[in-house]
């Protein structure tokens, strides 16, 4: 059953080939047998899952159940789950149990999806390798000496290892797409505002966006149907009706104009990755799509702008973790200052502290204009690049990240090398555009991701093209040997 896609599981559930309880138990068993190999899941909610599965079976029996009813999934531990620890991968929240659900969690619960547990992640979603988690690194199922990518590395690895057919994730600078690429699965970061941020622990509020991860584009479409909603509790959520993302999956790609930005095929790109991506593009061309060379001239500014804006917002977003109200408080503080300093120094890991310091510095009196002000101007330029490009093309494609999964510790001493992992993904967050990664080849026996960037709210077209690509390729069906 664990090799089924979500679409196949839905058929199986609706045709009574198996019950949700059986399915849920199967995945729970897999998690308990295999998770130690990958450390992808950090909280298992077995009892709750089986209760939810039994309820889902009743709804399924009534014959009028939503698509996701009875399908087991995992939630990234960044989403608040009522009564279930939500740590955000941090010692700071190791003891935090929220009294509310994130809207994303609520939406899946509403449709009867079954939560198996919570996935590991880089601490506060800050990282591209899942090495910054308080709960230890996640291992890539394709090569356990290598990283799964981050920050949604737990979700990606869990899907690659068939511990769940789908999982929720978040993407601030590439945290859905890069781990999806490195773990050989599909992942979509929707348009900013498409999915509610309520109950999703903030890293950089103007960039954070939740999205689905699954093995196929079709599964992502099914999950996005459930996830996406306008939410009055999130002022940046966009009041726009949610289309049925599965409805247009079958459309032909004939005549589709695909922009290929030259900046995404430059220095630093692994030749094997480039080859795989070019071959994938050739496949689409063979199906009748038109490849158009384009330029996104401000691309090289996206990483520096991002590493001003994201830390600046994070420095304020993480101020609430002060040891006063919830979360970690140091032992025996001698006064208020001591409580603040030690609670935060002991509760946050190194990378989180580094970004808080960078952000605080960028916003300081005398530096604001040179850093934060400038970065916002760059953000505008990047938006303009994209809006110019979308005048002549329907989608933009290129590599998701520069190279396949690297070994643990390979970039640990060099934060800038780590930051460059997201060189192709960050610009879409700065522009608020949707981006996706689908498996498109193998290099050194590790997966390569093809990135698909769409115009605002054009997720249906991206999913359609990704689905069509998966009809003529089978990279998304390949499994790591150990699985």
């Amino acid at each position: 059953m664990h090799n089924y896609t979500i679409a196949e599981l839905i058929k199986g559930l609706q045709n009574k080939e198996f019950s949700s309880v059986e399915l849920t138990q199967h995945f729970l068993d897999r998690i308990s047998q295999l998770n130690d190999n990958y450390n992808a899941v950090i909280t298992i909610t077995g009892e709750q899952a089986l209760t939810a599965a039994a309820l889902a079976d009743k709804r399924l029996a009534s014959g009028d159940a939503p698509a996701m009813c009875g399908v087991p999934i995992l939630h990234k531990d960044i989403f608040c789950t009522d009564g279930v620890r939500t740590s955000c991968g941090s010692k700071m929240l190791d003891n935090f149990v929220p009294p509310y659900n994130a809207t994303v969690v609520e939406n899946f619960a509403r449709d009867g999806a079954v939560m198996l547990g919570k996935t590991n992640m880089d601490e506060f979603a800050m990282g591209s390798s899942n090495e910054t988690s308080f709960y230890g690194p996640v291992k890539n199922p394709w090569a356990t000496d290598s990283v799964p990518g981050g920050s949604s590395g737990g979700s990606a690895a869990a899907i690659a290892a068939r511990l769940a057919p789908g999982a929720t994730a978040t993407d601030t600078g590439g945290s859905i797409r890069q781990p999806a690429a490195l773990c050989g699965i599909s992942g979509l970061k929707p348009t900013y505002g498409r999915v509610s941020r309520w109950g999703m622990i903030a890293f950089a509020s103007s960039l954070d966006q939740a999205g689905p991860m699954a093995r196929t584009a079709e599964d992502c479409a099914i999950m996005l149907n459930c996830m996406a909603s306008f939410d009055e509790k999130d002022s940046t959520s966009v009041e726009q009706s949610v289309p049925d993302y599965t409805a247009s999956l079958g459309n032909s790609v004939k005549g589709l104009k695909i922009g290929i930005p030259k900046e995404y095929f430059s220095e630093g790109l692994h030749p094997g990755t480039e080859l795989a991506v070019r071959e994938a593009l050739a496949e689409l061309e063979a199906q009748g799509a038109e490849l158009v060379d384009i330029s996104l001239p401000s691309s090289d500014l996206s990483v520096p702008a991002y590493y001003v804006i994201a830390p600046a917002e994070a420095s304020a977003n993480l101020s609430r973790f002060d040891g006063v109200k919830y979360g970690y408080r140091c032992e025996n503080p001698k006064d208020l200052q001591d409580m603040y300093c030690r609670s935060r120094s002991e509760g946050f890991g190194e990378e989180v502290q580094r970004r808080i310091l960078i952000g605080t510095y960028c916003l300081s009196a005398g530096y604001y204009d040179a850093y934060y002000g400038k970065a916002q101007q760059v953000r505008q330029l990047i938006q303009q690049d994209f809006s110019e490009a979308f005048k002549s093309v329907d989608l933009i494609m290129g590599p998701t990240c520069p190279s396949p999964a690297f070994k643990f510790g390979a970039k640990g001493d060099d934060p800038v090398a780590m930051y460059l992992e997201d060189i192709y993904t960050i610009a879409t967050n700065l522009a608020g555009l949707p981006g996706m990664s689908v498996p498109c080849g193998m290099v050194e026996e590790k997966p390569v991701g093809l990135q698909i960037i769409g115009n605002y709210f054009d997720e249906a077209r991206m999913l359609n093209v990704a689905h069509q690509f998966q009809q003529i390729t089978d990279w998304h069906h390949q499994a790591p040997e150990a699985v």
Binding site: F79, C80, T86, C88, L93, F96, P98, P99, Y100, A102, R197, W198, G199, M200, I201, A202, A204, S205, S206, E232, K233, D234, S235, T236, A312, E313, S315, A316, L318, S319, R320, F321, D322, V324, K325, Y326, L336, Y340, T360, L363, S364, A365, Y368, Y372
Partner: protein, 485 residues
């Protein structure tokens, strides 16, 4: 040397919304600590703010009331600093693009002159919670109450246009009058609904450059404000005259102990690292909204004062006092209309009633004597049923809840005797019983006679048990005495 005082005010006004500025928690004052703080107010992870539209409308109404520009696109920013009663570690406020731009407030001074005080801007923001260092907390810990956290505020920032404590108080009172008149604030200063930060500097008279200022924060009464300003002015002048310089600093004034002290110097000031809040969209205000709010804006104190003069023929002085307080105005208007005697109504509302309420620490909306009751009594004064002196007894009884004026007049037998036959008999009897006084009156010269009339009046009122109509008695008495001359 002569010194000139320069004062600017920053006034925090709590808006009278039912719920907080970014959450649905109640803003009611005085609840058990932390019972009115929801997940958003507690800054639980993943929670997000949603702007309260009523707070925005109230801010716009204030802007309209002071004839200010309304910014059609204002922006919330984060003001970053750590404090236990600031749950998010930043205050959501406005800086670069506040909702209310430049405006002006006219104050009236004791000598009757008027002065315009310019408003630099007013912005929307959230209040912080409260830290408490008292009570039964173990190990010398401090407590945090987040009930107030997230209460909507407008902060009104004046230009340094005031030149004395008197002007500052007049300005503060005028703001109080405006915000309570348009009903965007309950005006309860003792509950912290209005709080004042006072910027004070001094300079040689005639100088046009500003001296170094200090800011005294969080004053919540006019009296404390006056004391704080006067002490600070004196301190600064002494300091400069002794050859020192004023340090730019934030100060605190304790109204109970009358002690002012430095809280932090300019060097210790926080770098607040303001930046636009990414969780909130810019606040867009349409022309239609502004026009709707302008149409619905309740009467402002200045307009009301003018109306009281024309509609009720009150003096400038009386109408200014009454019109400055919207609750007092409403009370007065009911009494005036129901009694059809605005002058008497004004006297009683401003005099006996205000005094009693003040002593009891009550507001006009909490008055034990209703406006209808007071009107009933005014009618009885006007138709001579009771004297002014009796009215005080009636008022006292109404205050104690003994009924309407008519009921009390009846039960206490307070009815004034205005029957001329009965009064004439009393006067004749008193004159007959006081032959010596009458003889003395006749033998006195004209100028002394007037004084001696009082003696007869006293006797007559005593004989009538205070119920004789004094004007009538006076007439009859003069007539009878004249007959004897």
């Amino acid at each position: 040397m002569n010194w000139e005082t320069v004062i600017g005010l920053e006034v925090h006004v709590q808006l009278a919304t039912k719920t907080k500025i970014f959450s649905a928690a109640s803003t009611t004052f005085g609840a058990t600590p932390n019972t009115q703080a929801c997940a958003i107010d507690l800054a639980m992870p993943g929670t997000l703010p949603v702007l309260n539209k009523q707070a925005v409308n109230y801010a716009i109404m204030f802007g309209l009331a002071i004839d200010a520009e309304i910014c059609q696109e204002s922006v919330f920013e984060r003001k970053n600093y750590f404090y236990p009663d600031l749950p998010k570690g930043y205050q959501t406020t406005q800086l670069e693009k506040p909702i209310v731009g430049r405006g002006s407030v006219t104050i009236q001074l004791a000598d009757g002159t008027e002065k315009a005080i310019r408003i630099h801007h007013a912005h929307l923001e959230e209040d912080a919670g409260k830290s408490t260092h008292e009570g039964d907390l173990p190990y010398g810990m401090s407590g945090v109450d987040l009930n107030r956290a997230g209460t909507p505020l407008i902060e009104i920032v004046s230009e340094p246009d005031m030149r004395s404590a008197e002007e500052a108080i007049a300005f503060a009172k005028k703001l109080h009058s405006i915000v309570t008149s348009i009903k965007i604030c309950d005006g309860e200063m003792s509950q912290g609904s209005m709080r004042f930060d006072v910027n004070v500097s001094v300079r040689p008279a005639g100088s046009s450059t500003l001296g170094i200022r200090t800011e005294t924060k969080n004053l919540n009464s006019y009296k404390f404000m006056e004391e704080a300003i006067e002490r600070e002015v004196e301190r600064q002048i002494d300091l400069i005259e002794d050859g020192g310089t004023v340090a730019q600093e934030t100060r605190l004034y304790n109204g109970d102990t009358k002690v002012a002290k430095s809280m932090r110097s300019k060097e210790e000031a926080n770098d607040y690292r303001y930046f636009p809040c990414p969780d909130l969209l810019p606040v867009l205000v349409s022309d239609e909204t502004i026009e709707e709010l302008r149409q619905a804006l309740p009467e402002l104190p200045d307009a009301r004062q003018n109306r009281f003069v024309s509609q009720y023929a009150l003096s400038d002085y009386d109408s200014a006092i009454i019109a400055s307080d919207s609750n007092m105005s409403a009370f007065f208007e009911t009494v005036a209309k129901d009694s059809n005697n605005p002058k008497l109504a004004a006297n009683w509302v401003m005099g006996e009633l205000s005094g009693s309420l003040n002593n009891a620490g009550l507001g006009f909306t909490e008055s034990p004597v209703s406006a209808k009751q007071l009107a009933g009594m005014v009618v009885r004064i006007a138709d001579n049923s009771i004297s002014g002196k009796m009215a005080k007894q009636v008022f006292e009884a109404m205050w104690q809840g003994e009924g309407t004026a008519d009921e009390i007049i009846e039960s206490k037998g307070l009815k004034q005797v205005s029957d001329s036959g009965a009064l004439e008999k009393i006067v004749v009897d008193v004159l007959a019983a006081n032959a010596v006084m009458v003889e003395d009156f006749i033998n006195s010269d004209e100028s002394k006679r007037k004084k001696k009339l009082g003696g007869f009046m006293g006797q007559i009122m005593k004989a009538s048990k205070g119920q004789a109509n004094p004007q009538q008695v006076n007439q009859i008495l003069l007539q009878k005495l004249n007959e004897l001359l």
